[in-house]
Point group: none
Chain length 160, copies 2
């Protein structure tokens, strides 16, 4: 396990991905090679392959604009996530236990926190997630299939 949380570490990838977000926000980037060039100018010499992977992780999309040009942009769900960036702190502060069975995930929270945590989970717009119900201290997540439930549970556990 690497778990690069070390405060003193440079964490190249994360910084580069922030730079990518800045770049696509401030100018029209049409291709990954364009992005590669601009990144190099900003001090991040990386190849197209790495950019492809960054774009996947950042959930960026390539949209057509009038006139037949294309540019990269942040996807729908990413906007909402940024709007409520408190996901992580609410989540870690409130979640007690995560378990799953069949196509359901049960998230146990401290009393009164389930609604807030559930809103956080909803904001992620998980694919394969059919719906969520939150009581006072428990959230039920219903997924499309058993495997998705497992994946969501695993991911939530990794956040916690």
């Amino acid at each position: 396990m690497k778990e690069n949380n070390t405060p003193g570490k440079s964490n190249v990838k994360e910084v580069r991905q922030k730079a990518i977000l800045d770049l696509i926000a401030s100018e029209k980037i049409a291709t990954q090679n364009d992005l590669s060039r601009r990144l190099e100018e900003s001090g991040f010499p990386v190849t197209q392959a790495t950019i492809s992977r960054d774009i996947r992780e950042l959930r960026l999309v390539k949209v057509a604009e009038a006139g037949g040009n294309y540019h990269y942009a942040v996807g729908k769900s990413e906007d909402k996530y940024q709007a409520s960036n408190k996901f992580h702190s609410i989540f870690t502060a409130s979640v007690v236990k995560i378990d799953y069975v069949n196509n359901m995930v049960v998230v146990t929270c401290y009393t009164g926190m389930a609604q807030a945590v559930c809103a956080c989970i909803d904001s992620l717009e998980w694919q394969g997630l059919v719906g969520t119900i939150a009581g006072d201290d428990t959230i039920l997540i219903i997924t499309r299939d058993d495997n998705t439930a497992k994946e969501i549970a695993t991911t939530l556990k990794s956040i916690k």
Copy 2:
């Protein structure tokens, strides 16, 4: 100039593009070739080139999902309904997510908004809609049959 407004004409391209929107709303399409195959099954035999052009015109985007797969989706700015009517503003301001399974549609809203959104949906007097139940942030719509659920979900998504 062609301007195919002729009422009696079939207008292949437009119908095909609607079919594309339906397809990407109801299943996960990863590549244009996938889409080509599914379209052919639906009675629209077209090549990848045409799909590339349709995707540009429809402003569709390819997004990454957790697990490293990709799928096509409608872009952010693809709102079709007029901004002025009450339904639209309440709906877009409150609805977070729409999904369906079997003969049920689940509409997820920001906390506290589900009742208001549900009233909007009820006001449409959808035929094939059996009943609705709204909690604080989730609406369950029960339909007569599976296909109606799909249709309602697709239409609601196109509004959002």
